[in-house]
């Protein structure tokens, strides 16, 4: 079956559009930091908090009495044990007592603090961040169309070479990240997570662009759709996890500097980030989501290897590094779950795991020859 060059061209145009839209979104995220009106820490408009609670934010220390409850529950909400702070920095759930009710979400909406789902309006307040989100979603639409048309052009799943793989992985990463950001209303993460994704996509478009074409005989199997799809999903999610780990380290450093009095809490871009523990939890859950998919991907690859090469595992360099990546992420999960490693040490392990993944993707594909040398790079 021949390549449909019209569709391939269309895919290229959409992906260039994607890069442009993401760049604009990034500018808008940055603009929000620079020009958006943000209440400084400590003077969060507490008026927001009860609204969030009333909207049904399930918060550990905030009572559920108010969830979908009638007027009777509001009275119960004032009981002392239950009106613990809905968000660090905000005084308490006491309604309408905060100064400067600017109409912006507080630095730490209760939903973000607790990592719970907000059932309130998901739209952010503030025109910069709204513009950023709109551009980001528009970019994602172009991204999805770009990846899809590429697949239609070559009559197979569009992750057969390195260029296609990177465009798909970044697409998965953006989908996952947007879902996370909107669900937890963590809009201030946008700048930090979209920047590396945009960088990767930009490099894909410029450095490793490969025209649409047929793939190697060894790849012509329905296992391509299973194995590489799983690897694409997992990698895209791990990208978000790694970006969150970096953001965590920055936010944690900032928080410690503030605590030590070496940094004012009211300046610096990091002041707008969610609390470090919240980012840490996002990162953990992201890895938890990706790890089973990665495990499945390795297993699907083993089954494919068994039909293609006659053994399910042969310590091919790519297999070895997929295994190393699995082990390091398993260490990360294990350390968090049993040894109680949180915070920086856990973030470092996660970044080591992501480093292994990147090395497998780039280093092994380019510098080491093995059975997985399909990158299409010369």
């Amino acid at each position: 079956v021949s390549v449909n060059f019209g569709l391939a061209q269309l895919s290229n145009h959409f992906l260039i559009c994607t890069v442009l839209l993401y760049s604009l979104a990034l500018l808008a995220y940055a603009g929000d930091f620079a020009f958006g009106r943000h209440p400084s820490q400590g003077e969060v408009p507490a008026a927001e908090v009860p609204e969030l609670v009333a909207a049904g934010v399930p918060v550990a220390s905030v009572p559920v009495t108010s969830v979908g409850a009638g007027p009777g529950s509001a009275a119960a909400g004032s009981e002392s044990a239950r009106s613990e702070s809905a968000g660090p920095g905000s005084g308490s759930g006491s309604a309408g007592s905060g100064p400067g009710a600017t109409g912006r979400a507080p630095r730490l909406p209760a939903a973000v603090v607790q990592g719970g789902r907000s059932r309130g309006s998901w739209l952010p307040t503030g025109s910069w961040v709204r513009a950023a989100l709109a551009l980001n979603m528009l970019g994602l639409a172009a991204h999805v169309i770009g990846v899809t048309t590429r697949g239609l052009a070559v009559h197979r799943v569009p992750w057969g070479d390195m260029y296609e793989f990177v465009t798909s992985v970044t697409c998965v990463a953006v989908i996952f990240f947007l879902a996370l950001m909107i669900r937890y209303r963590a809009y201030y993460l946008g700048l930090f997570v979209m920047a590396p994704i945009l960088l990767a996509l930009g490099l894909a478009e410029t450095v490793i662009y490969t025209p649409a074409g047929q793939i190697a005989v060894a790849l012509q199997s329905y296992w391509l759709a299973i194995h590489v799809t799983a690897m694409t999903l997992a990698t895209g999610t791990f990208v978000v996890g790694a970006a969150l780990a970096v953001v965590y380290l920055l936010a944690d450093r900032y928080a410690r500097r503030v605590a030590a009095g070496r940094q004012s809490a009211s300046v610096g871009a990091f002041r707008l980030l969610p609390a470090p523990e919240v980012i840490d939890r996002f990162a953990y859950r992201t890895v938890m989501f990706a790890f089973p998919i990665w495990t499945f991907g390795i297993m699907a690859g083993a089954i494919w290897a068994d039909t293609a090469w006659g053994r399910y595992w042969g310590w091919d360099p790519t297999e070895t590094w997929a295994f190393i990546t699995w082990v390091v992420y398993a260490c990360f999960l294990h350390a968090r779950a049993t040894a109680g490693w949180r915070g920086r040490r856990a973030a470092y392990i996660q970044l080591v795991g992501f480093g292994c993944l990147l090395f497998n993707l780039l280093g092994v594909s380019i510098f080491i020859t093995g059975l997985h040398s399909y990158a299409g790079l010369s």
Partner: protein, 506 residues
Amino acid sequence: MRTALVLLFLLAVASVPGSVLPQQGIDPQSVQQYYVSHPSLAPLLARLSLFNVFAAPWFAAIYLLLFLSLAGCVVPRTFRLARSARALPPPAPRNLARLPQSARHETGLAPGDALDAAAAVLAARRFRLRTGDGWLSAEKGYRREVGNLLFHLALLGILGAVALGGLFGYKADRLLVAGSSFANTVTALDEFHPGRAVSAADLQPFSIALDRFTASYIPSGTLRGQPSAFDAYIRYSAGPGSPARPYDLRVNHPLNVDGVKVFLIGHGYAPVFKVTDGTGRVVFDQAVPFIAVQQSGLTSEGVVKVPDARPDQLGFAGVFLPTAVDAGGQLESIFPAAENPRVSLVAYAGNLGMNSGPSQSVYQLDTAGLRRLPISPRPLAPGQSMKLPDGAGTLTFTGYQPWVSLAITYDPGTLPVLLAGVAVLLGLLLSFFVRRRRMFVRAYPGADGTTVVDVAGLVRSDAGGGFEEEFDGLAEALRSAHDGYDVTAPAPSGTDSSSRTDTEGE
């Protein structure tokens, strides 16, 4: 637990050299090249088993210790799980409002009835219940620990299944020229790597004949010369006397015969030579497999040994070019299909050294006892001949045949590994997404004849998150179970609540 983590990490680090250095089991030729290019370093690395990392004693030590530590952790936990299978949840704490998740509502039901209604709600959601005076505690999510154990046990299972395959399985290779056949016996195989418990008599007695092989290549465009399909049309029979069946052997489409899998892993050209020696006898007429040394044009190298030639034995070394073009006085192949095949050979005469000394490779010529014949190599087209000087004889390039290389593997551990792998994944998902959680309910008389119901929730492991939502739902379900008897808050009259309690009277 720490030990297991350290060993796990060590295992990852130990695998690194296996991907960076060439490995004997995967690419023995690269190992030899490494010896040539690093003559002083290579023996040292070899002593540390760094060319065979995944079979090295120290690598085995790490994973055996890891699995030992795993077993040491899993076995006691299994017993604990078995004991806790019948254990009841702990009593409800006194002050439920202090728990991370708590809620309160009021009802017109009497405390005992309210608890009964709550028990019914929680039992319907398959909570394990325990009741006491004025309280109820419930627990759910034991499958999480089951999943966790399943994950670790399945990892042990993978190791066992791999060992099973290593003991009773075997791997073999065979190069097969079109028009020829072989039977699955040790002598007929080019390479044979049996498991420790495999003997020659254990080989499944099938035979395979290669009728035809076709390779298709992309003829133009940027991907010109890339293969698009390989088809080896074979006939196989499961044993002596069994009928021969045709099969189209392709990449990703192996043959499964008697539990053994046969894979198409390579292909090439075998030029056919006819050699007449100095006495005028035809002493050689067969296809000689040449091995590709360059992929894009499948330029292949090989040697021809003619031990029966007289007065001197003859040997030839040279290249086969599928699509030869003249590139500045030098011939090279620009396309993998045989569109303009040429052979170019250097001729030798003398003693091939095949009757003495160590066994020789069929792909190498031992030139120690040979002299090069004074004839300059000239590319031969099919049908063309090369007359050797001094009346040593004549070589004719009569044509060519394709050959395929087949990998033959038998691994009885494959299915167990797959099952264990599925169990790993299942265990992982259970332990990630099932949370072990407790619900507590206390009901006691309130100020004005109503009953106050305190509900609290405690999650023991909620890595995946989401207990908050579940607790909301449960608290809501409990509240609505008590609803209808509700006395309007905040200042209930309390008059009709008791009558409603009577009517329900559950």
